[in-house]
Point group: C2
Chain length 154, copies 2
Protein backbone atom coordinates (compact mmCIF):
# COMPACT_ATOMS: atom_id res chain seq x y z
CA UNK A 1 0.00 0.00 0.00
CA UNK A 2 1.22 3.42 -0.96
CA UNK A 3 1.41 5.95 1.82
CA UNK A 4 1.95 9.59 0.99
CA UNK A 5 3.21 12.34 3.25
CA UNK A 6 -0.26 13.14 4.56
CA UNK A 7 -0.88 9.52 5.53
CA UNK A 8 2.41 9.41 7.39
CA UNK A 9 1.63 12.63 9.20
CA UNK A 10 -1.75 11.29 10.26
CA UNK A 11 -0.12 8.09 11.52
CA UNK A 12 2.53 10.02 13.37
CA UNK A 13 -0.10 11.98 15.26
CA UNK A 14 -2.41 9.07 15.97
CA UNK A 15 0.50 7.00 17.26
CA UNK A 16 1.04 9.66 19.89
CA UNK A 17 -2.58 10.48 20.63
CA UNK A 18 -5.41 8.52 19.11
CA UNK A 19 -8.01 10.77 20.76
CA UNK A 20 -7.03 13.58 18.43
CA UNK A 21 -10.18 14.45 16.49
CA UNK A 22 -10.45 14.52 12.73
CA UNK A 23 -11.09 18.22 13.03
CA UNK A 24 -7.82 18.82 14.86
CA UNK A 25 -5.98 16.73 12.29
CA UNK A 26 -7.67 18.56 9.45
CA UNK A 27 -6.39 21.85 10.85
CA UNK A 28 -2.87 20.54 11.33
CA UNK A 29 -2.72 19.11 7.80
CA UNK A 30 -4.77 21.71 5.97
CA UNK A 31 -7.32 19.21 4.77
CA UNK A 32 -11.06 18.86 5.11
CA UNK A 33 -12.45 16.76 7.93
CA UNK A 34 -13.82 14.24 5.44
CA UNK A 35 -10.48 13.86 3.66
CA UNK A 36 -8.86 13.06 6.99
CA UNK A 37 -11.70 10.72 7.81
CA UNK A 38 -11.38 8.80 4.53
CA UNK A 39 -7.63 8.46 4.89
CA UNK A 40 -7.91 7.09 8.41
CA UNK A 41 -10.59 4.62 7.31
CA UNK A 42 -8.30 3.46 4.53
CA UNK A 43 -5.38 3.05 6.93
CA UNK A 44 -7.62 0.95 9.18
CA UNK A 45 -9.00 -1.12 6.29
CA UNK A 46 -5.55 -1.86 4.93
CA UNK A 47 -4.29 -2.87 8.36
CA UNK A 48 -1.72 -0.12 8.63
CA UNK A 49 -3.46 0.87 11.84
CA UNK A 50 -4.00 -2.45 13.59
CA UNK A 51 -5.83 -1.25 16.68
CA UNK A 52 -6.52 1.57 19.09
CA UNK A 53 -5.58 1.01 22.71
CA UNK A 54 -5.34 2.72 26.07
CA UNK A 55 -1.88 2.42 27.58
CA UNK A 56 -1.89 1.63 31.28
CA UNK A 57 0.91 2.73 33.60
CA UNK A 58 2.13 -0.58 35.08
CA UNK A 59 3.22 0.97 38.38
CA UNK A 60 -0.29 2.25 39.01
CA UNK A 61 -1.72 -1.25 38.79
CA UNK A 62 0.96 -2.95 40.87
CA UNK A 63 2.94 -4.38 37.97
CA UNK A 64 6.11 -2.38 38.30
CA UNK A 65 8.59 -5.22 37.84
CA UNK A 66 9.70 -6.03 34.31
CA UNK A 67 11.96 -8.88 33.31
CA UNK A 68 13.42 -10.10 30.05
CA UNK A 69 13.53 -13.85 30.21
CA UNK A 70 15.54 -15.77 27.64
CA UNK A 71 14.71 -19.40 27.08
CA UNK A 72 16.46 -22.34 25.51
CA UNK A 73 14.42 -25.40 24.55
CA UNK A 74 15.86 -28.87 25.06
CA UNK A 75 15.11 -29.78 21.45
CA UNK A 76 14.09 -27.94 18.31
CA UNK A 77 11.56 -30.13 16.59
CA UNK A 78 8.69 -28.28 15.01
CA UNK A 79 6.16 -29.77 17.41
CA UNK A 80 8.19 -28.67 20.43
CA UNK A 81 8.38 -25.12 19.18
CA UNK A 82 4.70 -24.96 18.35
CA UNK A 83 3.63 -26.40 21.66
CA UNK A 84 5.83 -23.98 23.58
CA UNK A 85 4.57 -21.02 21.61
CA UNK A 86 0.95 -21.92 22.24
CA UNK A 87 1.48 -22.30 25.94
CA UNK A 88 3.54 -19.18 26.44
CA UNK A 89 0.97 -17.11 24.58
CA UNK A 90 -1.60 -18.03 27.19
CA UNK A 91 0.47 -16.66 30.06
CA UNK A 92 -0.92 -13.23 30.97
CA UNK A 93 2.34 -12.12 32.60
CA UNK A 94 4.06 -12.46 29.23
CA UNK A 95 3.46 -9.31 27.22
CA UNK A 96 5.83 -10.18 24.42
CA UNK A 97 7.52 -13.31 23.14
CA UNK A 98 9.88 -13.55 20.20
CA UNK A 99 11.64 -16.43 18.51
CA UNK A 100 15.18 -15.15 18.16
CA UNK A 101 18.65 -15.81 16.82
CA UNK A 102 21.59 -16.44 19.11
CA UNK A 103 22.34 -18.58 22.08
CA UNK A 104 18.74 -18.69 23.32
CA UNK A 105 15.61 -19.56 21.37
CA UNK A 106 13.11 -17.12 22.81
CA UNK A 107 13.00 -13.76 24.52
CA UNK A 108 10.02 -12.98 26.74
CA UNK A 109 9.05 -9.66 28.21
CA UNK A 110 7.42 -10.44 31.53
CA UNK A 111 5.49 -8.02 33.72
CA UNK A 112 4.76 -8.74 37.36
CA UNK A 113 4.43 -6.99 40.71
CA UNK A 114 7.79 -7.76 42.27
CA UNK A 115 10.56 -10.31 42.56
CA UNK A 116 8.37 -12.60 44.64
CA UNK A 117 5.68 -12.65 41.98
CA UNK A 118 8.36 -13.30 39.37
CA UNK A 119 9.69 -16.23 41.35
CA UNK A 120 6.16 -17.56 41.57
CA UNK A 121 5.72 -17.10 37.84
CA UNK A 122 8.94 -18.97 37.08
CA UNK A 123 8.30 -21.84 39.41
CA UNK A 124 4.61 -22.45 38.85
CA UNK A 125 4.18 -21.42 35.23
CA UNK A 126 7.24 -21.06 33.07
CA UNK A 127 9.40 -23.94 34.16
CA UNK A 128 6.31 -26.11 34.08
CA UNK A 129 6.02 -25.77 30.31
CA UNK A 130 7.20 -28.73 28.30
CA UNK A 131 10.62 -28.86 26.68
CA UNK A 132 12.13 -25.91 28.54
CA UNK A 133 15.90 -26.16 28.80
CA UNK A 134 17.73 -23.33 30.49
CA UNK A 135 16.54 -19.79 31.19
CA UNK A 136 18.27 -16.48 31.77
CA UNK A 137 16.49 -13.63 33.55
CA UNK A 138 17.52 -10.03 33.02
CA UNK A 139 15.89 -7.54 35.39
CA UNK A 140 14.94 -4.02 34.45
CA UNK A 141 16.56 -1.48 36.73
CA UNK A 142 15.04 1.53 35.02
CA UNK A 143 13.07 2.47 31.95
CA UNK A 144 15.04 4.84 29.74
CA UNK A 145 12.68 4.95 26.78
CA UNK A 146 9.43 3.21 25.98
CA UNK A 147 7.27 4.14 23.04
CA UNK A 148 4.82 2.27 20.84
CA UNK A 149 5.33 4.72 17.98
CA UNK A 150 6.96 3.23 14.91
CA UNK A 151 9.48 5.51 13.29
CA UNK A 152 7.81 6.85 10.13
CA UNK A 153 9.31 10.00 8.69
CA UNK A 154 12.94 9.13 8.13
Amino acid sequence: MKLDKLDLKILKHLQEDSKMTNKELSNLLDLSVTAVYERIKRLEREGVISKYVALVNPEKVDKGFMVFCQIKLIQHTKSYLTKFEEEVTRLSEVLECYHVSGEYDYILKVLVKDMEEYREFMVTKLTNLDHIGSTLSTFIISKVKNTSAVNLLS
Copy 2:
Protein backbone atom coordinates in the same frame (compact mmCIF):
# COMPACT_ATOMS: atom_id res chain seq x y z
CA MET B 1 -5.10 4.89 44.10
CA LYS B 2 -7.72 2.30 44.84
CA LEU B 3 -9.11 0.45 41.86
CA ASP B 4 -12.22 -1.64 42.24
CA LYS B 5 -13.44 -4.45 40.02
CA LEU B 6 -15.31 -2.08 37.74
CA ASP B 7 -12.24 0.07 37.18
CA LEU B 8 -10.22 -3.01 36.30
CA LYS B 9 -12.88 -4.18 33.87
CA ILE B 10 -12.94 -0.79 32.18
CA LEU B 11 -9.15 -0.85 31.89
CA LYS B 12 -9.18 -4.36 30.53
CA HIS B 13 -11.53 -3.36 27.75
CA LEU B 14 -9.87 -0.06 26.90
CA GLN B 15 -6.48 -1.77 26.76
CA GLU B 16 -7.85 -3.95 23.98
CA ASP B 17 -9.96 -1.36 22.19
CA SER B 18 -9.93 2.27 23.18
CA LYS B 19 -12.59 3.13 20.58
CA MET B 20 -15.17 1.30 22.65
CA THR B 21 -17.82 3.88 23.54
CA ASN B 22 -18.93 4.70 27.05
CA LYS B 23 -22.33 3.41 26.09
CA GLU B 24 -20.96 -0.01 25.12
CA LEU B 25 -18.99 -0.13 28.37
CA SER B 26 -22.05 0.89 30.35
CA ASN B 27 -23.94 -2.03 28.87
CA LEU B 28 -21.15 -4.50 29.53
CA LEU B 29 -20.73 -3.38 33.14
CA ASP B 30 -24.32 -2.57 33.98
CA LEU B 31 -23.60 1.03 34.83
CA SER B 32 -24.87 4.37 33.60
CA VAL B 33 -22.98 6.12 30.83
CA THR B 34 -21.99 8.93 33.19
CA ALA B 35 -20.65 6.55 35.79
CA VAL B 36 -18.42 4.99 33.16
CA TYR B 37 -17.43 8.44 31.96
CA GLU B 38 -16.47 9.64 35.44
CA ARG B 39 -14.47 6.51 36.17
CA ILE B 40 -12.50 6.84 32.95
CA LYS B 41 -11.80 10.52 33.63
CA ARG B 42 -10.53 9.58 37.05
CA LEU B 43 -8.28 6.86 35.63
CA GLU B 44 -6.86 9.43 33.19
CA ARG B 45 -6.43 12.10 35.88
CA GLU B 46 -4.62 9.72 38.20
CA GLY B 47 -2.32 8.55 35.43
CA VAL B 48 -3.52 4.95 35.46
CA ILE B 49 -4.31 5.46 31.79
CA SER B 50 -1.23 7.25 30.49
CA LYS B 51 -2.28 7.75 26.89
CA TYR B 52 -4.39 6.58 23.99
CA VAL B 53 -2.55 5.48 20.87
CA ALA B 54 -3.05 3.95 17.47
CA LEU B 55 -0.88 0.88 16.97
CA VAL B 56 0.76 0.71 13.57
CA ASN B 57 1.65 -2.58 11.89
CA PRO B 58 5.42 -2.26 11.35
CA GLU B 59 5.44 -4.45 8.24
CA LYS B 60 2.98 -2.13 6.52
CA VAL B 61 5.30 0.82 6.92
CA ASP B 62 8.46 -1.00 5.93
CA LYS B 63 9.81 -1.57 9.42
CA GLY B 64 9.58 -5.32 9.59
CA PHE B 65 12.96 -6.01 11.14
CA MET B 66 13.22 -6.02 14.92
CA VAL B 67 16.40 -6.44 16.91
CA PHE B 68 17.24 -6.59 20.59
CA CYS B 69 20.55 -4.88 21.06
CA GLN B 70 22.42 -5.29 24.33
CA ILE B 71 25.04 -2.72 25.22
CA LYS B 72 27.91 -2.55 27.64
CA LEU B 73 29.39 0.85 28.50
CA ILE B 74 33.13 1.20 28.94
CA GLN B 75 32.66 2.85 32.32
CA HIS B 76 29.82 3.34 34.74
CA THR B 77 30.15 6.85 36.06
CA LYS B 78 26.89 8.65 36.53
CA SER B 79 27.67 11.18 33.81
CA TYR B 80 28.41 8.43 31.29
CA LEU B 81 25.12 6.73 31.99
CA THR B 82 23.14 9.96 31.80
CA LYS B 83 24.78 11.04 28.57
CA PHE B 84 24.18 7.68 26.94
CA GLU B 85 20.54 7.64 28.03
CA GLU B 86 19.91 11.10 26.63
CA GLU B 87 21.43 10.25 23.30
CA VAL B 88 19.78 6.89 22.87
CA THR B 89 16.39 8.39 23.66
CA ARG B 90 16.73 10.64 20.63
CA LEU B 91 17.21 7.74 18.23
CA SER B 92 13.91 7.12 16.46
CA GLU B 93 14.80 3.53 15.58
CA VAL B 94 14.97 2.75 19.31
CA LEU B 95 11.46 2.05 20.57
CA GLU B 96 12.52 0.87 23.99
CA CYS B 97 15.62 1.14 26.14
CA TYR B 98 16.08 -0.33 29.59
CA HIS B 99 18.89 -0.19 32.10
CA VAL B 100 19.26 -3.80 33.16
CA SER B 101 20.99 -6.24 35.46
CA GLY B 102 23.42 -8.83 34.15
CA GLU B 103 26.36 -8.89 31.84
CA TYR B 104 25.21 -5.94 29.74
CA ASP B 105 24.08 -2.52 30.94
CA TYR B 106 21.25 -1.78 28.51
CA ILE B 107 18.75 -3.58 26.32
CA LEU B 108 17.36 -1.76 23.31
CA LYS B 109 14.46 -2.75 21.13
CA VAL B 110 15.29 -1.48 17.67
CA LEU B 111 12.93 -1.35 14.70
CA VAL B 112 14.20 -0.93 11.16
CA LYS B 113 13.42 -2.01 7.61
CA ASP B 114 15.96 -4.77 7.13
CA MET B 115 19.44 -5.95 7.96
CA GLU B 116 21.00 -3.30 5.78
CA GLU B 117 19.16 -0.53 7.62
CA TYR B 118 20.21 -2.12 10.90
CA ARG B 119 23.84 -2.15 9.82
CA GLU B 120 23.50 1.50 8.88
CA PHE B 121 21.92 2.24 12.27
CA MET B 122 24.73 0.49 14.13
CA VAL B 123 27.54 2.08 12.17
CA THR B 124 26.29 5.63 11.86
CA LYS B 125 24.27 6.05 15.03
CA LEU B 126 24.75 3.58 17.83
CA THR B 127 28.45 2.95 17.79
CA ASN B 128 28.94 6.68 17.42
CA LEU B 129 27.54 7.33 20.86
CA ASP B 130 30.10 8.08 23.55
CA HIS B 131 31.29 5.45 26.01
CA ILE B 132 29.89 2.44 24.17
CA GLY B 133 31.83 -0.72 24.95
CA SER B 134 30.61 -3.93 23.36
CA THR B 135 27.24 -4.74 21.83
CA LEU B 136 25.30 -7.93 21.21
CA SER B 137 22.54 -8.06 18.61
CA THR B 138 19.75 -10.60 18.83
CA PHE B 139 17.52 -10.78 15.75
CA ILE B 140 13.82 -11.52 15.85
CA ILE B 141 12.95 -14.52 13.71
CA SER B 142 9.24 -14.40 14.47
CA LYS B 143 6.77 -12.68 16.72
CA VAL B 144 5.02 -15.18 18.98
CA LYS B 145 3.11 -12.74 21.16
CA ASN B 146 2.98 -8.98 21.36
CA THR B 147 0.47 -7.10 23.44
CA SER B 148 0.44 -3.75 25.18
CA ALA B 149 -2.19 -4.91 27.66
CA VAL B 150 -1.00 -5.12 31.24
CA ASN B 151 -2.28 -8.14 33.09
CA LEU B 152 -4.98 -6.88 35.47
CA LEU B 153 -7.41 -9.48 36.73
CA SER B 154 -5.20 -12.11 38.28
